[in-house]
Symmetry: C2
Subunit: 241 residues, 2 copies
């Protein structure tokens, strides 16, 4: 892990960009240390997502958490995958034609991404937890929700997850979700155009966790109400101490 | 409205029992005044429900709200209705036999109750808002959810509602819900045995409100997590000022 730039905000939060091998990432740390870490998921494209990610990270930092994220495979400046590009084109075509999105397209779109991303996030976690001032337990927050599901199953250092049900979910991931046992807060935008509401509800139902909460709000993909940021902080406050 | 007894708790909350004509009720007021009022719904049987209602009321009072409730028609010491008793017996029989609960039973069980209770709650609201130290806007919190829906439609003094989706809902009430426009927080126990999950989701979908939030938690009817009490207070804090 190599830090490439840093800036400190008025609120005392230190933002550091880094690379982990070829993978770019960003780490935000609050003034208080040691801070429990929240891994922040996103749909890929760190530069495009930066304003929203930085806002989420600084909101979490205000509550005492460090936050970090890395670029997804095939996104930003990372090499494209022909399989993923084809799946994305097929998804777009189905949505534009108003056709149902087939399981086969969802599998091609999401499963290779999960297979590649999850080991990268675990490697990032190794590097982040080796830094001074950052400690476990670790939370995962955001999407791609299938990445969050797999991480929650395979990564014992993740103690709680706030998952954004804002993307299509392969049926095999819904099956994997039965093995998740950590506390969950699942966020669903009720009118999300890039999602399947019933699939999100099926996924919530499948999770094996004894404590799981669904927060569904009116509005589309990017319309998550501001108060959900506070709710997420309170959720992590209950589980990352 | 006639006060019949009062006691003051250690936390400064004043609890007064009252009768409104033949209907018994309870009013809890915080030390601070004037306080916005939350009407607390329940399934009927004030004495049986008292410990939970008093806990909810004092939690709300700690956040600055007055809270009040009245007995439902046909419950507690109030005269029984033959129609409701028959419907309740039919419901019990269907549940014990593991049969689906028919729309016809749900209609007989809930619609006469809503028709009788809603005018009573509005009369109680008149009397409560005439007391010194209590003011609008008013919130409704709890169940029977069909009573909350009808109140939200017909009673303009109710500015926000935290509804507990813990009872069967007639299809005509789901239609009425389209006319609800106030902010809503709907609470659903995911594994509630005395409920129909899909019906609760259909009801949430039907509400016409621009701001509506669903909180679903694992567990049965009486297993609402304690943190939902804080969430409800924060919801009312956003809307009853």
């Amino acid at each position: 892990m190599r830090f490439t730039s840093e800036q400190r905000f008025d609120d005392g939060v230190l933002e550091r960009r880094f690379t982990l091998g070829e993978i770019p990432g960003v780490l935000w740390t609050p003034a208080s240390a040691p801070a429990p870490l929240i891994l922040m998921g996103h749909p890929g494209g760190l530069d495009r997502m930066y304003p929203r990610l930085a806002a989420r990270a600084r909101h979490a930092a205000a509550a005492g958490y460090a936050a970090a994220t890395i670029e997804l495979p095939g996104a930003g400046d990372r090499p494209r995958s022909a399989v993923a590009e084809q799946a994305r084109a097929d998804l777009r075509r189905a949505l534009e034609a108003g056709e149902p999105v087939s399981d086969e397209i969802v599998d091609r779109l999401v499963l290779p991404l999960v297979d590649q991303a999850v080991p990268e996030w675990r490697t990032a976690l190794d590097a982040l937890l080796a830094l001074p001032g950052i400690r476990g337990p670790v939370g995962f927050s955001g999407g791609v929700i299938s990445i969050g599901v797999r991480l929650a199953v395979v990564e014992p250092r993740i103690a709680a997850a706030g998952l954004f049900a804002g993307s299509f979910v392969p049926r095999s991931i819904i099956e994997e979700a039965r093995a998740v046992t950590i506390p969950l807060l699942v966020l669903l935008q009720w009118d999300d155009e890039g999602n399947d509401r019933q699939m999100a509800l099926d996924l919530f139902d499948a999770f094996g966790s004894k404590e799981k909460t669904l927060h569904a709000n009116t509005g589309g993909h990017t319309g998550v109400p501001a108060f959900e940021g506070d709710d997420a902080n309170r959720f992590f406050a209950r589980h990352l101490r």
